[in-house]
Each structure stands twice: as structure tokens, then as C-alpha cells.
């Protein structure tokens, strides 16, 4: 079994799976259960001046019958007394000395930072994460993402904390900026020893169409929230990769955003993350999902012949290029496997209406191979004939075919095809 241990700039962890700061890390009892379930580390729910939260706080997007493909929250930092949290952090660290306990913090003044870092260090925690990401509520008071959006301010506060702290300081970045490199590099310049990203994306997740109030609704009003969950993963992957390939970023990255299983985690690791943090998936399914993450990642590493997870970190970064560096001479065409095709013709309609009119059918309105064009433009004077002409086989008659001369190799047909392996993109 591959070695899953990581060392995140001095923070040691039995595996790269950490809980992100949020409801799953609200108290010590939770985190102890999470460690028992197999999580390697946890970032404690943000400490600061305790606040009062609203009700309700969450709303989600469901997709195709599946719940919570995206989640939006308007919850703020911890609403528990600081002392209670500090006591519990110490207790957790005492009971689980080998696990990574990082404490998220968000306060305002230099003095406040100094004080809270000192008290946090006394708990025996392994690291500190500066919450410069929260895009709702706290940012209206000059904290959270309002810091993360101002590189100069971010650099300054980071430098204070690096000065006060003997522990590694991670800076949690907000994605609500134009270029993630600006705050990322500023954090490194300020002395950050790690970057965590992404925090949530500023969002309105939906509208109650009967009451005309955005969601989630607090009595009869709402506010923007922070968006997370499986839907944000691509945004997070890009930002992690953008930092990982920049030579100015010399510190490890903790990847966050839509991670639900080992495969998601492996993708973040290949794009440069050293650890990953999970919140929404645990809010959805509980701590137990870590079992599959550990097992799946370990199996994957074994099959890939990688003895340690650290060998996976950044493996895909060199292949993440600017568009201008891509090979324009490389061409693929779509091939439909007649035996696997179930005849739904989603590739046909997707290509016809949403791509380049290169897939044709033997039935229905399309009579292309009999000489009558089925494309809207009707400009093409020749359309390749299908390989078969099975007039009498009702199933084969449903199978579309590709005009390979015209196919631009865009992939859309393969993406909409519900049958794995039915449509392959083949190099021309």
C-alpha cells in the first residue's frame, strides 16, 4: 500500500485528506469523530469575535434529481466562545498528536491578531490558516474576502501574523478576484508558508419564485452567499494549477473546492496541491466518505507504481499550458461504435444544433446520404455516405454516423453520449 503521509511545510499528516474550515469542524467532538473515521487533518472553524448567525443559512442547487451539486451558505465564523474552542483544540491535539490540526482565524486589528495567535499557539495546534476568503457578511466589516481582494492589505496582515506566529501560517484565498496570482503571490511575499484555496464564490443560488426573494431566505429577505460543492471544482482546479506553475509560489498548496472522492483529490494533487480540504461532501454524506478516499487513492497510487502520495503532487502541472502553446496540427475525429450505440441520437442533435453538423442519421428528418442536406446552412455539397445501409435493422437504423471529413474533433458528441466507450475520439 502506498504511503499517504504528507508534510505540509512542517505540518505532518497521516494522509492528505483534511476537513476544511466550516460546519464539519465546528467543535472538538466532531473533529475527534472525523479523525476516528480516517481524516488526516482538520482546519478548525474560523475563530474570531463570536458572531450571531442567521436562519436559514444554506440553499443548494439540485441537478437531474441529485441533491446539492452546488451549495451556498451565509453562515459566518464560529458562534462559540473563544475559550471553549481553544480548550477543545487542545483536547483534540492531546488525544490525536499525529493528526494535523490547523486553526482558521479571522480578526481585524494587529493587536487582535497578535493576541489570538498567541492563545492559539498555546493549544498545541499545528498551524494557522488566515481566513481571507469569506465572501459574505464578514467582508462587509472589512474582513474575509475584502482582505483577500486587496493584495497589499493581504500582504501586510500576513506579514504581521508571520511575525507573531511560530507555527506555519497558511493563507486561505478567495476566488472572487480577477487573477488568483495577485493575492497568491502577495501572501507568499508576506511570509505565508502555505496557500489554501478556494474559499467560496460569491453567489446568489436561486430565487423563491413564489415570494420573489433570493435563497436562502431570512424571513423575507436574503443576501449573497458563498458557493461551493461539486459544481465549483473546475474553478478551484484552475486556480490551484495557476499558482502551482508560477515560480513565485514557493509554498505548498492545500486544494479546496468540490472534492467528494479520491479521484477529485488525485486531480488536485496532480495539479499541485499537497493536501486537500473537504467540506460540502462531508456536510452531504458525513465523515465516512474518507474511507473510499483513502482506499481509492492508495489503490490508484499502487496501480500507477507510485510508492508515495508525494510523488503525485504536481505531476500534471507541466502539461498545463497557455492556449498558444498547443499543437494546432493535432486532429481527432469522432468514431461511433455501432455495437455499443443504443440509438438515443443525442450526439446527432448535439452536433446538429450545438456544434458542426457532422453527424447524420439514417432515419427521421435526416436524409443526408440520399442527397438532401439536413444542415441548416445547406452549403455543403457532399456528405459522406454511411458505412452501412441497414434499412431493415430497426436498431442499426437508429445509429448515427460521422462525416469524418467534416468532423472538427470537438468532443461534444462523446460528452453527451450516455454509453461509456461508445464514442471515441481517434487521432486522424
Amino acid at each position: 500500500m502506498a504511503n499517504l503521509k504528507i508534510n505540509f511545510n512542517g505540518i505532518e499528516s497521516p494522509n492528505p485528506f483534511w476537513l476544511a474550515s466550516g460546519p464539519p469542524t465546528n467543535c472538538g467532538e466532531q473533529i475527534m469523530r472525523a479523525f476516528d473515521a480516517g481524516w488526516g487533518g482538520a482546519v478548525w472553524k474560523t475563530l474570531g469575535d463570536p458572531i450571531v448567525n442567521v436562519s436559514s443559512r444554506l440553499a443548494a442547487i439540485d441537478y437531474a434529481g441529485k441533491r446539492m451539486s452546488g451549495l451556498n451558505n451565509i453562515e459566518l465564523i464560529t458562534d462559540r466562545p473563544l475559550l471553549t474552542n481553544l480548550k477543545e483544540i487542545a483536547a483534540v491535539k492531546k488525544k490525536y498528536p499525529d493528526h494535523a490540526v490547523v486553526v482558521s482565524i479571522m480578526v481585524e486589528s494587529r493587536e487582535e491578531w497578535k493576541e489570538i495567535i498567541r492563545r492559539t499557539e498555546d493549544t498545541g495546534a499545528d498551524g494557522i490558516e488566515l481566513n481571507f476568503g469569506c465572501p459574505h457578511g464578514m467582508c462587509e466589516r472589512g474582513m474575509g474576502s475584502s482582505v483577500g481582494q486587496e493584495p497589499a492589505l493581504l500582504r501586510e496582515i500576513t506579514s504581521w501574523t508571520s511575525e507573531f506566529s511560530s507555527l506555519p501560517v497558511l493563507v486561505k484565498l478567495t476566488p472572487n478576484i480577477t487573477d488568483i496570482l495577485d493575492p497568491g503571490v502577495a501572501a507568499v511575499q508576506g511570509g505565508a508558508q502555505g496557500l489554501s484555496l478556494i474559499n467560496t464564490i460569491k453567489s446568489i443560488i436561486g430565487v423563491d419564485l413564489d415570494r420573489f426573494v433570493p435563497l436562502p431566505t431570512v424571513r423575507d429577505k436574503s443576501t449573497n452567499g458563498g458557493y461551493c460543492g461539486p459544481a465549483v471544482k473546475p474553478i478551484a482546479l484552475h486556480m490551484v494549477a495557476a499558482l502551482a506553475r508560477d515560480p513565485r509560489v514557493t509554498v505548498p498548496i492545500s486544494g479546496i473546492g468540490g472534492i467528494e472522492n479520491w479521484r477529485d483529490a488525485a486531480e488536485f494533487l496532480t495539479l499541485g496541491a499537497t493536501s486537500v480540504q473537504v467540506c460540502t461532501a462531508v456536510m452531504h454524506y458525513g465523515y465516512r466518505i474518507v474511507e473510499d478516499m483513502i482506499e481509492g487513492l492508495s489503490n490508484y497510487l499502487d496501480e500507477a507504481g507510485l510508492p508515495s502520495v508525494t510523488r503525485l503532487i504536481g505531476k500534471a502541472v507541466p502539461n498545463f499550458m497557455d492556449w498558444g502553446s498547443l499543437d494546432l496540427s493535432f486532429k481527432t475525429v469522432s468514431k461511433i461504435d455501432t455495437d455499443k450505440c443504443i440509438g438515443c441520437q443525442l450526439c446527432y442533435i448535439a452536433c446538429l444544433d450545438g456544434a458542426h453538423q457532422c453527424i447524420h442519421t439514417r432515419t427521421g428528418d435526416c436524409r443526408a446520404y440520399h442527397g438532401k442536406s439536413d444542415h441548416g446552412a445547406g452549403l455543403r455539397d457532399h456528405i459522406a455516405e454511411p458505412l452501412h445501409h441497414p434499412e431493415n435493422d430497426p436498431l442499426l437504423r437508429q445509429v448515427p454516423y460521422v462525416d469524418e471529413d467534416e468532423c472538427v474533433g470537438c468532443n461534444l458528441c462523446q460528452l453527451v453520449c450516455p454509453v461509456p466507450g461508445c464514442i471515441e475520439m481517434v487521432e486522424r
Binding site: 437531474a64 434529481g65 440509438g343 441520437q345 443525442l346 442519421t361 428528418d365 437508429q398
Partner: protein, 436 residues
């Protein structure tokens, strides 16, 4: 018309549970999300009424239930009953591409029931009717028989602005929808609900009119712009053997009608039943009697299971209720026996061996007579007496006389009758608007 006055409260069919109940919202959402939303979908092509199935299911997913119902009704005004009656296993769901994927087709019948029943309930609750009949023209069409073909035709005419007048021999409208569908699929009260909704579109129903006797088709032709024959099939056929008129020998559709519609009709205890036939009516009545507690129910078929015209999925379910199939048996004679009721002499078609089977009831399910030519001797029919039509217009060999349903196809599904009626209605509307 008030169904309370026409359907007795105490009917044997009340003992059957709804075999495929209305989906809950959650069930419908999960099932609807399984649909791939195919383009040029095979399910539509397999539907005799060409219901745009992927579109109505897509509308269920988005929560547009009113739209989903309207999509069904657009080509199938009997969408509520056909959702429950259609043999989807061999039509739409049988053609579903997911059969090729994992063998689990989308449950289209139950989704259609959800779309139509919920859509209608929603429209009623919000008091925004799904249909607005067109302003009536001064033209009318006479429809003979009040079964699914005529109802589909009449409702389409009413929405198109032509006044339909249905002449029905029986006291109850609905044809087989009310009197013939297996009660675990569709009970007569639900069937009547749909019919009442259709009648409310502006259909004039005259029950107790035995067209041919009074009035004659000729009389109707004088008063109406066109005639639609939706007379279905007639009496159950009997094999013509000794003893077939003895008490305890039933025609299958006659017996089903008693189970479904008749006041206080009961099945005596400890009944041994023999059903003669191999079609879906034979399978239906056999299963109904088995479910009602008959001691034994045997289907006697003259050939083998493989050659049965009845659906295999229906036979399989009937067998689960204890129905047995006995192959290669021909009925030869029925005699009365003081102790056991009836004795049926049968002959094995292959071995020619004779046997005597005891029974309390013997049910003949070998088809029904075609009665169309009895009404109109000049009609062009095929050798089985089925009315011949112009396939594009639904018009018979007599100009101005249209037909559809079982009297044309010899006995198919409700949905075939619905499609026929709709096609004829559009031909009639087209003709009338051209001559107007």
C-alpha cells in the same frame, strides 16, 4: 350525466387494488430523470398515438406539469386511461434505448399517468382549464358507439369547433374502457371520470340508441355532416360445440363486464374455471378470476405458449397468480354434471387423445364478432369483417363515413382506437372547413 347514478356502488372489481398506483412527486422525479431525452426517440415511433414522450418527461423534470399533461393530450386525449392500459412493455417502453443500456426502460406509462392526472388536478385547483373548445360551428358529426375511438374523435371535433353527437347502445359510455379493461389496470370509476371530462368539452351523448334499428345510419346521414363508426366488436364468439349454451358457460368480455360494472355480481366459492383461448382477453379474465379467489384457473389453448397471441409479460404475471396454461387442447363438447357442474371434453391436437375436464365455469375467449357490416351492409371490409379505410384520412369506402378502433383493426389497444379517432377527426375538420 352523473356516474353515481350509472355505476353501481357494489361491484366485484372493487376488490382489485390499483396495480400501478399514481407516482408520488419524488418517485416521478427520480424516474423522469432517468430519461435520456433522446432525439428522434424510438418510444415516440413505437406509440400508436405518437405521444411526444421525451418532451413530456422533460417537462416533469422541470416541474412544468401542466405542460407535460398538454404534451400528452396534444396527440392523445385519452392520456389518462391509456397511461394505465397501454401495454408499454411492447410499445414505448419496449422501444426505450435504456433496454440496450441496462435492461431497465423508463417507466413511461406511470410517468404519463403522473403527468396527466397531476396536470388535470393542478388545472382544476387553479381553475385554469387545460382545454378551451373552439367556438361552435353550425355543423355536427354523428359518432356511433361511445368507446375510445369515438370519444377521441368526438373530443378532437369539439375542440375543433364541430358539434359531436355520440349514439351509444348501452346505458354506459366508454366501451371497453369502462367495461373491459382489467380492473387492476383501470377501474370503471376512473374510466368514467376521464369520459366525463371529455364529454364536458361539448360532446352530446345519447345513450340507449341502437343505431341500425333506430335511428338507421341513413337517418343520421341526413342530420349530420359526417358519420364516424366506433362500434368496436360485438358479442363473444363461441366455438359452436355441443353444450356451449349451458349455464356456467360464459363469453369472456361478457363476464369481465359483469365483474366491472354489474351490481353485486359475485364469484361463488371453490370455483374451477377453464378459459378457452390464447389472446389477451383469455389471459385477463383468467388472471382476474384467479385474483378473485377461484380455486383453479386453467387456460386451454389450441397451440403452444410460444404461438399465443396474448402478451408474454401478461401471461407471466397471470401465472404468478396461479393461472395454468394447458397447450394443444381443443374443446369438443360440454355436458352438464350434477355434482361438479360442467364437464368439458377436450382433444389433444397432436396426440388426438381425448380427456374430460371438470369445471364450474367455462369461459370462451376466442374473439368477438365484427358487427360493422350489420350496420352498413355496403361497407367495404376485409375477409374478417374489419372495415377498410383510406389509411391517410380514416374514411371508409362510403364517402363521409369514417371509422376507427376495434371495428377496423379487429381488436387492438385503446391507444390504437384513440389514434384512429383523432385521425378521422382531423380529416373531417379539414373537409368541413374547406366546404365552409
Amino acid at each position: 350525466m352523473n356516474k353515481q347514478n350509472t355505476l353501481p356502488a357494489s361491484r366485484l372489481e372493487n376488490r382489485f387494488a390499483d396495480g400501478k398506483p399514481l407516482y408520488s412527486d419524488t418517485e416521478a422525479r427520480i424516474e423522469a430523470n432517468r430519461c435520456l431525452f433522446c432525439y428522434d426517440a424510438p418510444c415516440i415511433k413505437a406509440c400508436p398515438a405518437a405521444v411526444n414522450i421525451p418532451v413530456f418527461i422533460h417537462k416533469i423534470v422541470s416541474g412544468n406539469i401542466r405542460g407535460a399533461a398538454l404534451t400528452v393530450f396534444e396527440t392523445n386525449l385519452l392520456g389518462v386511461s391509456t397511461a394505465r392500459v397501454c401495454p408499454v412493455e411492447v410499445s414505448c417502453a419496449g422501444a426505450c434505448v435504456l433496454n440496450e443500456q441496462n435492461g431497465q426502460p423508463v417507466n413511461i406509462g406511470r410517468l404519463q399517468r403522473y403527468a396527466t392526472e397531476k396536470g388535470l388536478a393542478e388545472a382544476e385547483a387553479k381553475q385554469i382549464p387545460l382545454f378551451t373548445p373552439a367556438k361552435a360551428l353550425n355543423q355536427s358529426v354523428a359518432l356511433i358507439g361511445a368507446g375510445p375511438a369515438s370519444l377521441s374523435c368526438a373530443a378532437t371535433l369539439a375542440l375543433g369547433g364541430v358539434k359531436p353527437v355520440i349514439y351509444e347502445k348501452r346505458a354506459l359510455p366508454g366501451g371497453l374502457n369502462v367495461s373491459g379493461i382489467a380492473p387492476y389496470k383501470l377501474d370503471s370509476v376512473s374510466a368514467m371520470d376521464e369520459i366525463e371530462r371529455l364529454l364536458a368539452l361539448g360532446i352530446h351523448l345519447k345513450t340507449g340508441y341502437d343505431v341500425g334499428v333506430a335511428p338507421t345510419v341513413g337517418d343520421l346521414q341526413k342530420d349530420h355532416e359526417a358519420i364516424f363508426l366506433g362500434v368496436g366488436l360485438g358479442r363473444d364468439k363461441f366455438p359452436g360445440i355441443e353444450g356451449e349454451s349451458l349455464e356456467g358457460v360464459w363469453g369472456a368480455t361478457d363476464l369481465i363486464r359483469k365483474i366491472k360494472n354489474e351490481e353485486s355480481f359475485t364469484l361463488p366459492d371453490s370455483m374451477k374455471v377453464l378459459v378457452i383461448g390464447g389472446g389477451n382477453t383469455a389471459i385477463d379474465i383468467a388472471r382476474e378470476l384467479a385474483m378473485l379467489g377461484a380455486e383453479t384457473v386453467d387456460i386451454l389453448y389450441r397451440r403452444t405458449e410460444k404461438e399465443m397471441p396474448g402478451y408474454h409479460h401478461e401471461l407471466r404475471k397471470a401465472k404468478q397468480y396461479g393461472v395454468r396454461l394447458r397447450e394443444n387442447l381443443l374443446p369438443k363438447a360440454i355436458r352438464k354434471n350434477e355434482n361438479t357442474g360442467l364437464l368439458l371434453e377436450v382433444e389433444n391436437k397432436l396426440t388426438k387423445q381425448k380427456d374430460i375436464l371438470k369445471a364450474n365455469w367455462i369461459v370462451m375467449a376466442i374473439g368477438q364478432e365484427n358487427q360493422a357490416r350489420r350496420l352498413l351492409p355496403a361497407l367495404d371490409t376485409d375477409k374478417n369483417g374489419n372495415v377498410k379505410l383510406d389509411p391517410d384520412t380514416g374514411e371508409t369506402s362510403i364517402p363521409g363515413v369514417y371509422a376507427g378502433g376495434d371495428c377496423v383493426n379487429g381488436g387492438k389497444e385503446v391507444v390504437n382506437a384513440v389514434a384512429d379517432g383523432r385521425k378521422a377527426a382531423f380529416s373531417i375538420l379539414k373537409k368541413l372547413s374547406a366546404s365552409h
